[in-house]
């Protein structure tokens, strides 16, 4: 589905990601781990087109997408949920969800999608007219996921969806991601530090260290704490 080879990226002249290969198969949940500052966010932003790739190729469903603008990638079925506040803080929940479908040309599909989002996160329906920035952290993350679903993406890239959430909420968010993957067949590429909750739903794991990939394989060996620690 997504195939990156030799991707290098950074800010200005400073290289952060050095020649990373990353493949995400259709229907997979691929987890990206790595220490703080390893370049996980930089890599995700590059794959999505928010940052230019200095080197390497990025293919999505067989098409070369390196150098495409985010707007084109969104229209082509990729959603990105950034680290932190992936919502419009001054707009209402409902406006946020509507904006999530900004690129959808067929607006007649939206009521049904809105329904799906509200069924998955009933709290968003209750709070539909509340201003996004006044939601709790967990609710904001649900809203961010809901916005992404509003344009029915085939690939969702998430950057640390559990950051700053209480453990029981982390569990809920991971459950929602697994549910989306299972029931909608959406492919997931996710950065997540909280291995306790994210490893169980992952089909494959890549580990980054100072901008290079040092592990790529099944999640099972990483359940062992010692193995995991070795990689960091």
């Amino acid at each position: 589905m997504l195939e990156a080879t030799g991707v290098a990226a950074g800010y200005g002249r400073k290289r952060i990601v050095h020649g990373v290969d990353l493949a995400v198969g259709k229907g997979e949940i691929v987890l990206v781990l790595g220490h703080n500052g390893a370049g996980k966010t930089t890599l995700m932003r590059t794959l999505f087109g928010l940052l230019p790739a200095a080197e390497g190729t990025i293919r999505y469903e067989g098409r070369d997408i390196a150098g495409r603008r985010p707007a084109e990638n969104v229209a082509d079925g990729i959603a990105f949920i950034p680290q932190g506040h992936g919502i419009f803080r001054t707009l209402s929940v409902r406006d946020n969800l509507d904006l999530g479908a900004f690129v959808e040309p067929d607006k007649s599909l939206l009521p049904e999608r809105l329904d799906t989002v509200f069924r998955m996160f009933p709290i968003l329906k209750e709070r539909a007219s509340q201003i996004g920035g006044t939601l709790s952290g967990g609710q904001q993350q649900m809203l961010a996921i809901g916005m992404a679903l509003m344009h029915a993406p085939r690939l969702v890239i998430l950057d640390e969806p559990s950051i700053g959430l209480a453990p029981n909420l982390v569990d809920k968010v991971m459950e929602a991601i697994a549910y989306i993957n299972r029931t909608m067949g959406t492919t997931i590429l996710m950065v997540e530090q909280n291995v306790k909750y994210s490893l169980p739903i992952a089909s494959r794991v890549a580990v980054l260290k100072t901008g290079r990939k040092i592990y790529d394989g099944p999640p099972d060996p990483l359940h062992d704490r010692v193995e995991l620690m070795k990689l960091f």
């Binding site: 999505f48 707007a71 419009f88 803080r89 001054t90 707009l91 900004f102």
Partner: protein, 289 residues
Amino acid sequence: MDLVLQLLVNGVINGSHYALLGIGFGIIFGPTRITHFAYGPIFAVGAYGCWASVAWLGLPVPAAALAGVLAAAGVGALSYLWLYRPFERRGSSHLVVLIASLGLFITLENLIGIVFGTDTKVVPGLSPDIFLWGPVVVTSIQLWQVAALAGIALALFAFLRRSRHGKALMAMTDNGEMAQIIGIDTVRVSLTAFAVGSAVAAVPAILILLKEGATPHMGFIAVFMAFVAVIVGGIGSFRGAIIGGYAVGIVENIGMWKLPTEWQSTIAFVVLFLILLFKPSGLFGRRVR
């Protein structure tokens, strides 16, 4: 008492003018976060576009006004495409963009002076009606200033709430990166903002032309007052820019009750200063990230 009433009415009239300036400036600043000082001379382009269409092409005033609005919108859009966009692409700092904007301010102002001369241009054969309402005197142009604000504010409100471009503009004002993430073409939104904001600025400029004439330097006080209205009202708030404009207009005119007229623009500055000191987010400001 009669004097205070007249000053209050003048305050509302000037307030409408400032509010319009603020809306135009804010619609550009909100999504782009560009401190667009060249908004001043582009305001003047609106007035001179109208004047030239009357004096050189012989168009009737309403058609000439439309020409002025289009001229300002065009120059505004080009200033984004040719000046700000290249800096944006390079990821230049706010300071660099600010200096570029000042450069454009000076260039445009001089250009206007070279093309039109530095004397005051008035639209010939225009005599506004004067109305006496009890002790209060107003002119038809002053009424137009108030009506223009009301009409434009309503139209823009509908544009921002209903149209696709308007919603994209609101989204980008909230968070530019998120706007990109949901697939909004932020370059197009910025271009729209520059065109619409400049068109809005042309309207008060044309009314000033009709009221007291145009000079190449007329843009300076315009961008200053626009800036004050936006800061006082709160960055990123449409309602704030309007209320900020009225607040400054009314305070300024009521100030005339006890102070000589030379103090008028100083009052605006004092209001700005106090707001920056005690309520930096403005009266209606949304906290900036």
